[in-house]
């Protein structure tokens, strides 16, 4: 095996053209369809995944550039779907169509890993790369704030 990527704790060989963006490797090769295609230009955030813990736009990330790295997708964010953000998303009944929400959650998870006490402005700044056309922004803001409280209440 020449090069591989670790995705959700499993190693996958890179058996596609190196310029294929991670998004399509995930969706069409591995059939991990939780990560969505929205724009193809890194403008909407629907394709957000974690690269070594950092939120990145997988639609503009060639697989060859991430050989040997660790990727987490929405399918691997938590074992039982119980990440504080996933729970907060349910409590606040955030999704409408839901198509953008995996990207929203992955982006928020990366953000909350570094900001334990986000202000409203912090959330706006961190989340403004993720478009929701259904208009769930008010609930996203509340859910991110709730998840931060849950994650860091001991701190």
């Amino acid at each position: 095996m020449s090069q591989s990527i670790n995705i959700n704790d499993k190693n996958y060989p890179i058996d596609v053209e190196g310029d294929m963006p991670l998004l399509w490797f995930l969706r069409d090769k591995l059939e991990l369809t939780g990560t969505k295609f929205g724009c193809g230009m890194g403008l909407c955030g629907a394709c957000t995944v974690h690269l070594d813990g950092q939120a990145v736009r997988s639609c503009v990330m060639p697989v060859s550039s991430i050989a040997g790295k660790t990727i987490t997708t929405i399918e691997g964010l938590s074992k039982n779907g119980d990440h504080p953000l996933q729970k907060a998303w349910l409590t606040n009944k955030v999704p409408q169509c839901g198509y953008c929400q995996a990207g929203q959650i992955m982006n928020a998870a990366s953000f909350l890993a570094t900001n334990k006490t986000p202000s409203s402005d912090d959330i706006d700044t961190a989340m403004q790369g993720n478009i929701c056309r259904c208009g769930t922004y008010q609930r996203i803001k509340q859910a991110v704030a709730d998840a931060a409280d849950e994650m860091y209440k001991e701190a």
């Binding site: 053209e17 929205g38 959650i105 403004q128 993720n130 478009i131």
Partner: protein, 743 residues
């Protein structure tokens, strides 16, 4: 309404109650051979129409299954209406469950496949689902409950009057014995369908009107819910496509050689325009072993188009022409009273022209579907608002019968009217037939934006007359816009009078009134966009009323109330009262009376609009600094009669405000030389989270029958915002969007 019953367990002999009195439930069920099966109920539904299009046309009324109670009590409720995030597949099943006295935690929901004989009209638009389905769905739930109760009464050998259904059980009131719905389901299937059902009273509702989470949210947050774009199957091929940039243009030539050499490319296929409503606009597609390869190879095609007769379409020039067309006499649409006299005797007259651009729906999931055409079978997996139209179009294309096209309706990643049209599904069918494999065609964002069915570019000219006592006595409304009807009749030179019906019947009901339709030939495909004509009619009515109030130094709310009070049309008494009612609450919630106490750079604007049988008033508070408009807070007041699901109803208003902000402030589809200039979210800048205002949604409590909410939130938003900006800054915006990007 017709309810019929299907017995899923075949020909069981009628249950003899004396044989069961001394047996345990389990034993009885076993002995009777009823351990499998259950109760399956069906229903038929009335027809409905939206914007001149009869939905579910040609569908029949043969009832079929949509409630299934299995013998373990698991209850499955099918939703025949399409789900695109509006929450219908939770709201309607919850209404069934309420009447059924089901335990909601035992209920699962399944999206019905395309089958209008089975589910009734499935074309999902016009905010019609709740309006049309609420009573029939409840009646079906109630009927099933009556049958379950009757079955239990037989088991116990007691009159039905001593039995009561509660939370998935029937209870014997004499001795508190209980039988579960699972135990009763197969027995209930042998009970006669009740002729009449009594529906629950509002005070007894368990799920209707309550805050119920959508059934699919758990799958969404873990990335498990599958959309049209997520359909996978063995042998699946992937496609990308480009269309002729100008409506009606044709492919002149295509050099496929470079594309064919790309590793992984299977074929390059020309798709001619299919001239039926919702057929492909025509173009060229690449089929490959993954979407990325198809997209890359597509870029290597050398294509020459014959652009055809719309190749000089330019929206800037067109809009200017529409303004001219509404600022001079146009074709009469409707008239009442004596408008000439009203204007001749007026103390005050205002004249204003309001305009708006084309809009692209831009759902987050671009058009996507999988189609597999086989010799004697055709199966579709699609994000769609209208599986019946897919059946119709593919049947025409394949020369088969509509019922032979199997349509699996997936969750749609947003739709807003775009996915009513199935051009993208038709294209996938062409490709599947060509390569003899299942094909997933996913449009790029650029194709989605450039090959739309756009919201109409438009101009609205209002002239209003007020007499010396402050009564609005005359109203002229001239509208010019390419109409949706042009899809079906391309020779139309203007919107037909029927498309102006919503302004003629607006509850302002001004006594001396005239509407006219100005010339507006369509140069692109026009389609239903969330709220449709209510976007620009609402903007014109709500802005003009505010302008008149300012000109005559009146309070906008008082002026609106006086207009409504002067409406002497007895057919509109309810519309007047409900419009005024919503407006009064919006004024109270937003502290309208004390708006003078706001900081000098802030302003409050208000508007109310009636559309799709619902009433929404909005009060918008803004802060304006120079050219910068910041929306701070919105109070939305909704009168949709009985609310079905408080959570989704609230979400619909939040969403309408976000979409309203996008289209009021910035988004506009621009055509130049016949083609769309916008391409992606950088030049179609929809609202992002950092501009989200505080939204407060309030519902009017009443007992009117429920009406839909997918669209009605858009009508009042733009005028309330324009009025707020005027209050804050003195600047009047009459053109949507207020702050277009320079392209």
């Amino acid at each position: 309404m017709i309810i019929s019953k299907k017995n899923s367990i075949g020909n069981q002999s009628p249950v003899q109650q004396n044989t069961v009195t001394n047996q345990s439930r389990r034993k009885f069920l076993k002995q009777s051979g009823l351990a499998t099966g259950g109760l399956v109920l069906g229903i038929s539904l009335p027809q409905t129409t939206i914007a001149g299009f009869k939905m579910g046309e040609g569908s029949t009324f043969n009832p079929n299954a949509f409630i299934h109670i299995a013998d373990n009590g698991d209850t499955l409720i099918y939703c025949g209406r399409c789900e695109m995030g509006q929450g219908i597949s939770t709201a309607l099943p919850a209404a069934v469950a309420d009447e059924l006295e089901a335990d909601w935690t035992r209920v699962s929901v399944k999206q019905g496949e395309g089958n209008e004989e089975k589910y009734g009209p499935q074309a999902t638009g016009g905010s019609a689902s709740i309006r049309v389905m609420y009573i029939p769905m409840r009646e079906a739930g109630a009927a099933a409950k009556i049958m379950l109760v009757a079955a239990a009464a037989k088991v116990w050998g007691v009159p039905v009057e001593v039995c009561v259904a509660e939370n998935h059980y029937v209870i014997n009131k004499n001795n508190q014995q209980k039988l579960g719905y699972g135990d009763l389901a197969s027995l209930a299937a042998n009970e006669p369908m009740p002729e009449n059902v009594t529906l629950k009273e509002k005070k007894d509702f368990k799920y209707i009107g309550k805050d119920i989470a959508r059934h699919n949210q758990g799958d969404i947050v873990v990335g498990k819910l599958t959309y049209g774009a997520d359909t996978k199957m063995p042998g699946l091929k992937y496609a990308a496509m480009t269309h002729c940039p100008v409506m009606g243009g044709k492919l002149k030539s295509v050099d496929k050689s470079a594309a064919m050499q790309v590793k992984g490319v299977l074929d390059v296929i020309e798709i001619p325009r299919f001239e039926v409503p919702f057929g492909s606009l025509g173009g060229v597609a690449v089929v490959a072993d993954n979407t990325w390869t198809a997209q890359q190879a597509l870029k290597k095609l050398k294509i020459e188009w014959d652009l055809g007769k719309h190749k000089s379409y330019d929206t800037k020039a067109y809009k200017a022409q529409l303004v001219k067309n509404v600022e001079s006499p146009a074709q009469l649409a409707a008239e009442r009273g004596d408008i000439k006299k009203a204007f001749a005797e007026a103390e005050h007259v205002i004249k204003a022209t309001y305009t708006g651009g084309h809009l692209s729906h831009a759902p987050m999931e671009p058009n996507a579907s999988v189609v597999w055409v086989q010799k004697d079978r055709c199966e579709v997996w699609a994000s769609t608002q209208s599986p019946g139209d897919i059946q119709k179009v593919l049947a025409q294309y394949l020369e088969r019968e509509p019922q032979d096209i199997m349509v699996n309706v997936t969750m749609a990643g947003g739709a807003f009217g775009r996915k009513f049209k199935c051009d993208y599904v038709h294209e996938a069918a062409v490709l599947s037939k060509a390569v003899n494999a299942p094909v997933q065609l996913t449009w790029s964002r650029e194709e989605d934006m450039r090959t739309g069915y756009y919201h109409s570019i438009n101009a609205q000219h209002i002239e209003a007359a007020m007499d010396k006592d402050g009564n609005v006595t005359g109203w002229l409304h001239r509208a010019a816009f390419p109409a949706i009807a042009s899809l079906f009749n391309p020779s139309l030179d203007r919107a037909p009078a029927s498309a102006l019906g919503d302004i003629d019947s607006h509850p302002f009901g001004i006594a001396n009134y005239r509407s006219e339709s100005g010339e507006a030939i369509a140069h692109t495909r026009i389609g239903w966009y969330r709220a449709v004509y209510a976007i620009f009619y609402g903007f014109a009515f709500g802005s003009a009323a505010d302008e008149l109030a300012h000109k005559t130094q009146k309070d906008t709310v008082s002026l609106l109330n006086s207009i409504y009070d002067n409406n002497k049309n007895t057919q509109q008494t309810e519309q007047v009262a409900r419009s005024k009612g919503a407006l009064a609450i919006a004024a109270a919630k937003s502290n309208w009376a004390n708006r003078d106490t706001l900081p000098s750079n802030q302003g409050l604007g208000i508007a109310v609009h009636f559309s799709f049988n619902s009433y929404v008033a909005m009060a918008v508070r803004v802060e304006v600094n120079g050219d910068d408009i910041k929306v701070l807070e919105v109070d939305a007041v909704v009168d949709c009669g009985q609310v079905l699901n408080l959570d989704s109803a609230t979400a619909q208003m939040e969403g309408a405000i976000v979409m309203g902000m996008s289209l009021s402030l910035r988004t506009e589809v621009v055509f130049r030389e016949g083609a769309v200039v916008n391409s992606n979210f950088h030049n179609y800048p929809v609202l992002r989270i950092n501009e989200m205002p505080q939204v407060n949604v309030h519902f009017v409590e009443n007992d009117f029958k429920p009406t839909g909410l997918g669209e009605p939130g858009l009508g009042p938003f733009a005028p309330a915002l324009a009025n707020a900006v005027f209050a804050a800054s003195g600047k009047r915006y009459r053109d949507l969007p207020f702050k277009p990007m320079s392209m």
